[in-house]
């Protein structure tokens, strides 16, 4: 994809991922012999601009979480490049970095998890949870540490007086705020938000989304926002990437992706979003069969067994992700020709 990116000034980018792969061995039997591979991430190409939110969507198991975790090297990639524009040292390829060198860059990248009920250690006080990253990186001690934790809690809209309490004393929305405070402790540039509001009630969801938007403004943060709720993704994202069985099938501005998609899978997703308007009722596009397994994907275009536009070539050749309009990428042999329907306006 890098050639097509010539038009974008690399100084504007924070991250550029090339052909990223993460394969997990499938182990069977008592001696745990490897009998195959789950190709959870199988050639992901994307870029993220400084200060933007890139939404990452796709069905359960398509590899969103694995992509996010591999990008920040919580998982080691099987193959590919992860170029990160470090504010101090400039461009580095995280995929090739040794663990000890990673220590320098890792603080710039944080993650917020889906489940506010299990992602916080129940035996730690809020003070401990939020201060841990600062202690590990030896960035503050004593009263300075206290002050920083208090400041972080205030930043996420919580009262510092709550510091000595344990997570169970807080509601889902409050726990998610604690998780965010912890993620902010090291002044990160990039935050992977992995389904941060999926487990929350609608009204609490709105509070957390607003908080994330405010923080982005105030602290100049860049987000990769993983979610399966396409309404939330439309609301928060500047651009959106759609994944299907370990690969990106489409990458575009939110507006283009939602209203003039170029990939048949994106079209099916858009038709399926339940619109909160009874005067705009829509019927889903029939998708026969099931999502392909990343352990045993079909030939050619992974979407071909379910695609209503598929032709002979689709089961034979894998379509590459190519730029079909400025900054609009799609992996479909017919991306330029098909007239596809976006979300009903």
């Amino acid at each position: 994809m890098s050639n097509e990116l010539a038009s974008i000034n690399r100084d504007e980018l924070l991250l550029e991922v090339k052909d990223l792969k993460k394969h997990f061995p499938i182990r069977k039997g008592v001696i745990r012999r490897s009998t195959g591979l789950v190709k959870a991430v199988d050639g992901v190409n994307l870029y993220v601009k400084k200060g933007e939110t890139l939404g990452l969507v796709g069905e359960s198991g398509c590899g969103k979480t694995t992509t996010g975790r591999t990008i920040i090297r919580l998982l080691d990639p099987t193959d590919g490049e992860i170029h990160f524009n470090d504010p101090k040292i400039g461009w580095v390829d995280l995929a090739k970095m040794e663990r000890k060198d990673l220590m320098q860059v890792r603080p710039h990248m944080q993650i917020i998890f889906q489940d506010p009920f299990s992602s916080l250690d129940p035996r730690m006080t809020v003070q401990r949870i939020v201060s841990e990253p600062l202690m590990i990186n030896k960035l503050a001690t004593g009263s300075e540490l206290q002050d920083r934790v208090a400041e972080l809690l205030r930043t996420v809209g919580m009262r510092p007086e709550y510091m000595s309490r344990y997570p169970h004393a807080f509601s889902g929305g409050q726990r998610q705020r604690i998780g965010i405070a912890r993620a902010l402790a090291l002044n990160p540039k990039l935050i992977i938000c992995d389904e941060p509001v999926s487990a929350l009630d609608v009204s609490i969801q709105a509070q957390v989304l607003n908080l994330l938007e405010d923080l982005q403004q105030d602290l100049d943060l860049t987000y990769i926002f993983v979610a399966h709720d396409l309404s939330v993704v439309e609301h928060i994202s500047d651009r959106v990437a759609v994944m299907y069985v370990g690969r990106l099938v489409e990458l575009a501005s939110t507006e283009n992706l939602y209203y003039s998609p170029k990939h048949p899978y994106t079209e099916a997703l858009m038709a399926a979003v339940p619109k909160p308007d009874p005067r705009k009722r829509d019927r889903p596009i029939k998708l026969p069969g099931e999502v392909a397994s990343p352990a045993n994907p079909p030939s050619g275009c992974y979407f071909h067994p379910r695609c209503r536009y598929a032709k002979d070539i689709c089961s034979k050749e894998t379509p590459p992700l190519k730029e079909v309009a400025p900054e609009h990428f799609a992996a479909c042999h017919f991306a330029g020709e098909l007239k596809l329907r976006g979300v009903l306006a």
Partner: protein, 360 residues
């Protein structure tokens, strides 16, 4: 409460016929922490042959309402007050309506069990709660069919395959031989819907039936439920907190807050003319996909009070932007008809007060 004046099935929803009417229902849970007042005077009507959505924040009593009507509330829970009337239509008797007060029946008694099998069923959010892991899908559906429809095994199997086919399951004659764990999430959900529909219920309670599924699977299951609902003319009570799903699925909407119904209206009124401040706040708090708008979301301030506490006055007043001091924090508004097919419980629209709200 005197029921004799309400013995007709005429509905607050214009042109509809009521199949279930709930009056002043209180269901409490007696726990170590105290009394959890899950339902605190629920009043609602379920229209016959229509889809009614039930929405509201987590803990407002959506599931307990369905379980109470089905008489499946288990200890430490108990229905402490109220009436649930089921207007049963008897096809063999020229569609004569029989009025049954479900609260007077024994929850686990033979009558209630027979109603649960033959006229009411429920789909749960987690399919494994109603599918038995040690029997094949086919056996489970066939058992339900044989139990209620007086047919032999061969005919039951034929019908089981037919029902699975009807819910869009590929290869239904193979699927009947499979065990639940051999199916994907979406297939299990379809199997559970088949099981719930095997007795062609008059009322189906669907409790978050698609919340755990991907959008494409969800959309397909919703489409299917809508088709089936039209085909066999059943009433669906669709519990969800996804307002998008409500807009796509339902004819009417019941909005609940803290164990009470605060508004009932047509689907169009709910979205275009909501009258209860809570309903409007809920709608403002969600992103509206397809609107091209990126306006800031407007969360409802504060949180739902816990069900162990007793809120004085209108239960929503601590979070309501329109609360009137000296009124809303003192008196409890009653559910009143405010327009065509529209009832609401709020002093902005009526000065009707409600007397007792907590049973001791």
């Amino acid at each position: 409460m005197n029921q004799s004046s309400e013995s007709t099935t005429k509905s607050v929803f214009e042109g509809e016929d009521t199949i279930i009417k709930v009056r002043d229902l209180h269901t409490y849970f007696y726990t170590d922490l105290g009394i959890s007042r899950a339902l605190n005077g629920v009043n609602l009507e379920i229209p016959r042959g229509k889809v009614m959505g039930v929405v509201g924040e987590s803990g407002c009593g959506k599931s307990v309402t369905a379980l109470s009507i089905m008489r499946m509330v288990a200890k430490p829970g108990k229905i402490v007050q109220g009436d649930i009337t089921f207007f049963r239509k008897d096809k063999k008797k020229n569609d004569a309506i029989e009025e049954i007060n479900l609260t007077k029946l024994e929850g686990m008694g033979p009558e209630m069990r027979s109603i649960r099998g033959a006229q009411m069923s429920m789909i749960f959010q987690e399919p494994m709660t109603s599918l038995n892991p040690s029997y094949t899908i086919g056996d489970q559906i066939m058992e339900a069919i044989i139990l209620h429809q007086n047919v032999d095994k061969v005919e039951a199997e034929r019908r089981a395959v037919e029902i699975l086919d009807g819910v869009g399951m590929a290869n239904p004659s193979l699927i009947v031989k499979r065990y639940p764990h051999e199916l994907s999430g979406g297939m299990r959900q379809r199997a559970m819907i088949s099981l719930a529909l095997s007795c062609t219920p008059a009322v189906l309670f669907a409790d978050e039936p698609t919340t755990a599924l991907d959008v494409t699977t969800e959309a397909q299951i919703l489409d299917l439920m809508r088709d089936l609902q039209k085909r066999i003319d059943m009433s669906i009570v669709f519990i969800t907190h996804n307002l998008g799903v409500v807009a796509q699925m339902c004819d009417y909407v019941t909005v609940m807050y803290l164990g009470r119904v605060v508004e009932q209206a047509t689907i169009d009124d709910t979205f275009y003319n909501p009258m209860h401040p809570y309903t409007s706040s809920l709608l403002r708090s969600i992103p509206h996909v397809g609107s091209h708008q990126k306006d800031r979301l407007k969360p409802i301030r504060g949180v739902v009070p816990d069900p162990y506490s007793k809120v004085k006055g209108c239960p929503f007043h601590p979070r309501c932007d329109k609360a009137m001091r000296g009124l809303c924090d003192v008196k409890v508004p009653g559910l009143t008809v405010v327009g065509k097919s529209h009832t609401v419980r709020c002093f902005l629209h009526s000065d009707v007060e409600e007397e007792s709200t907590y049973v001791q």
